[in-house]
């Protein structure tokens, strides 16, 4: 990556010339000139426009959620009558009622276990694979990469029955003999909930793309210094792509948290059901309870919002490079 010694800030390749760079920018502050003032004003207008655009877009994104929350605060009668945007009286009670309508504390606990399990598995295995595919030279890596891409391309409805069969005929579990016959395998167990979706090809691909931007010279140098390959991965390469970890973590957590069909198919007992299954109960063939469903969904989304808020705080340009010093 190019380094411009006149106007540099920290970059992955930044070297010992850093100290000299800061002086140059300090001069600017001490002696503002007409050009920089115009630039600052242009900058302020640009930022104002950007802010307005973001505000409008955000509001458009949020309209359905506002509706969702407002619905959660209405009575079923108000929803049945329709028409009014705002609830007559704000029925916070609905949130409590939704929680009581099903054992959500169990469902939430289950969803948490599964989501955390999947996230940990992904952050370790997918990052390792992504790094290897991006930065290590070994025979067949191109084919493996193609294989991971292909794994994303098969529609889930095509693989769900074979996956179910693998789970059901898992040898030596749930009463199955070595050929997988006789019992129920992993059906209705934690194994079925956590293992199959544990690592996604999506995450491997994501890590691989991020790792390609890590400068190879850095790794070569470490190699020469005698750092082990594993050490290079964990102590040098990985810290360069913290945003990738955050992104993969958030996305994996979200997809596990909201997963619905698979947990429904591989479990029979209520103790192993997840949040979305609980919320789906509010929408039935004959009658549905929309207020409770919206209340439930709002509550189910809150943890995700918190996680995302936390993760995105680290998305500040330059953070990835701080580790260098």
């Amino acid at each position: 990556m190019p380094t411009d010694s006149a106007r540099g800030t920290t970059t992955p390749d930044s070297d010992a010339t850093d100290t000299t760079l800061h002086l140059a920018s300090a001069e600017d502050i001490i002696r503002p000139n007409r050009e920089s003032m115009i630039a600052q004003r242009k900058n302020r207008t640009a930022r104002a426009i950007a802010w307005t655009v973001l505000l409008i877009v955000s509001l458009m994104m949020l309209v359905p959620f506002v509706w969702m929350v407002l619905t959660a605060l209405k009575t079923e009668g108000e929803v049945a009558r329709g028409g009014s945007l705002l609830p007559q009286e704000w029925r916070w009670q609905n949130f409590a009622d939704a929680l009581k309508a099903a054992p959500f504390h169990i469902y939430a606990r289950n969803s948490l276990f599964i989501a955390v399990g999947h996230t940990l598995m992904t952050l370790t295995y997918a990052s390792a694979a992504g790094y290897a595919l991006a930065k290590l030279r070994f025979g067949g890596s191109k084919w493996l990469f193609a294989g991971f891409l292909a794994a994303m391309m098969i529609p889930s409805y095509a693989t769900i029955v074979p996956q179910f069969l693998i789970v059901r005929f898992m040898p030596l579990f749930g009463g199955n003999n070595i050929l997988g016959q006789g019992g129920t395998g992993w059906i209705d167990t934690w194994w079925a909930l956590i293992i199959p979706g544990g690592v996604g090809a999506f995450s491997v691909f994501l890590f691989r793309q991020f790792f390609t931007s890590v400068p190879t010279e850095l790794l070569e140098a470490a190699r020469i210094d005698g750092v082990s390959e594993f050490g290079i991965f964990t102590r040098i390469a990985a810290p360069q792509v913290v945003p990738a970890f955050l992104t993969a973590g958030v996305l994996t957590f979200e997809s596990s948290w909201n997963n619905f069909l698979w947990p429904l198919l591989v479990t029979k007992s209520q103790d192993l059901r997840v949040i979305q299954v609980g919320i789906a109960a509010f929408r039935q063939e004959q009658t549905s309870q929309w207020t409770l469903m919206m209340a439930g969904t709002t509550m189910a989304t809150l943890p995700m919002i918190l996680i995302f808020l936390f993760a995105q705080r680290y998305f500040v340009q330059g953070f990835a490079n701080v580790g260098i010093k």
């Binding site: 929803v79 049945a80 009558r81 074979p162 109960a281 004959q286 009658t287």
Partner: protein
């Protein structure tokens, strides 16, 4: 993955082999249901039930009560229930069948019985199981395949037609139309205005899918979708053509439009008072009363049936069946017998807001008798029309709706569309 490719192929073989082995080791459920000579109190073992309803905690409590009643007579039988989302019942059953993990008791809907009976999934019931009960003939028909009984009615959903009395009075209509021609005229008379002030005669797409709406009018014309043996589709029959043509004519007259339909969770358009006639599902009482209780009063709305050669109301519902591979047939049958009996379905229908298939259950329940729609639904069971009737139905139904819709959005002429439907259905049946 180069190295593991061989392993993969071997694995796939093992997987398919495992599935086949599993399928091979199934034994036939044995004797026909109901012919067990074991006293209920002496039944033992476990039975598993797949339940697409009773999803919320309150409803589960009712279900538990119903199961407890069963356990009173058969205390040594353990009942485990798998509650599934009704929208995912297809996936649940398919994976269970593929993995040979079929529950003992299944609850499925109208139209499912012939395919599952044909495929050997369901066990045949001895008529003795429903001795002493009076079901409407048509309701029992949905549970039969080739004249044998494969399911017992549990809860029903019906759809009648409902008319807005004040609009009828304005148009000078006093009695419900008794022929297709009268119906079409009535719709015309009930239509007036334009744009945002338009008053429509009939909202056709008011409940269920195109094939179910057609089934209602087809039944009114004394027609059916399939021949009695289920091997020939009758979409090009005159009865069917007339029925679909009626709907298309009403749309062409401007009295209705296919693209007007209720949005899930929003108030039904009929309740806005701008439609002369609409379909009305029996389960609509709670929501519709909230939205417009006035309109639902007998003096303000008329419940009637589609009619031409006979009266017709649409029938849907849930039936209970036993799987052929069940290892505890006797217990499963006794379970089904009790769960479909008066007391049990009374509790179920009160909780789910559905129509009981037995008059005795309605009489035993104030809530149900007091519900105008449910009472009317039960009375109308004798006129029930339903979709299905062929072993290939589950494959046909998904493809039928788009073809019918082509005619209803006036993209294709009725005879052409029905030809397409006929060919599609015949292909599916030939494939069996």
């Amino acid at each position: 993955m180069r190295v593991s490719r061989r392993a993969l192929l071997a694995g796939a073989g093992a997987l398919a082999g495992g599935a086949l082995l599993g399928a091979c080791s199934e034994d036939d459920g044995g004797a026909k249901a109901g012919s067990s000579s074991v006293a209920p109190g002496e039944l033992t073992g476990e039975i598993s039930v797949l339940n697409p309803g009773f999803a919320t905690d309150d409803q589960k409590k009712v279900w538990d009560q119903m199961v407890a009643a069963f356990n009173k007579t058969a205390p040594n039988v353990k009942v485990t229930t798998d509650f599934t989302d009704y929208g995912k019942l297809n996936e649940k059953i398919t994976t269970a069948l593929a993995g040979n993990l079929v529950p003992d008791v299944l609850m499925t809907g109208v139209g499912w019985i012939p395919p599952f009976a044909y495929k050997g999934v369901y066990a045949e019931f001895d008529q003795a199981l429903i001795e002493g009960r009076t079901y409407a003939d048509r309701v029992l028909e949905t549970c039969k395949f080739e004249d044998k009984l494969y399911a017992i009615p549990f809860t029903q959903d019906t759809r009648s037609l409902i008319g807005n009395k004040s609009l009828w009075d304005k148009a000078g209509i006093t009695t419900p139309p008794k022929t297709f021609a009268d119906f079409r005229d009535a719709c015309k008379e009930l239509t007036s205005g334009s744009g945002a002030n338009k008053q429509w005669g009939f909202i056709i797409n008011s409940s269920g899918s195109a094939r179910q709406i057609l089934a209602t009018f087809l039944g009114a014309n004394n027609g059916a979708m399939f021949s009695p043996d289920g091997k020939t589709p009758l979409f090009t029959s005159p009865e069917c053509t007339e029925a679909l043509q009626l709907l298309v004519d009403i749309i062409k007259d401007g009295s209705s439009s296919w693209d007007i339909k209720p949005a899930e969770g929003s108030p039904h358009p009929f309740l806005g008072g701008k439609f002369g006639i609409s379909f009305c599902p029996s389960s609509a009482w709670p929501t519709w009363s909230e939205a417009n209780a006035e309109l639902l009063k007998p003096e303000n709305s008329i419940l009637f049936h589609a009619q031409n050669k006979r009266e017709s109301t649409f029938l849907g519902g849930t039936m209970m069946s036993r799987s052929k591979t069940s290892k505890n047939a006797a217990a499963a049958d006794e379970f089904i017998r009790i769960m479909t009996d008066t007391e049990s379905i009374r509790m179920a229908c009160e909780s789910l807001n559905t129509v009981p298939p037995l008059q005795s259950a309605l009489e035993a329940s104030e809530t149900l008798s007091g519900n105008r729609l449910i009472k009317e639904g039960l009375d109308g069971l004798q006129f029930a029309s339903f979709e299905g009737g062929s072993a290939a139905w589950l494959e046909i139904r998904g493809q039928l709706d788009p073809i019918l819709e082509e005619a209803l959005i006036l993209k294709t002429e009725v005879p052409v569309a029905l030809e397409k439907a006929q060919k599609m259905a015949q292909d599916a049946i030939d494939q069996l």
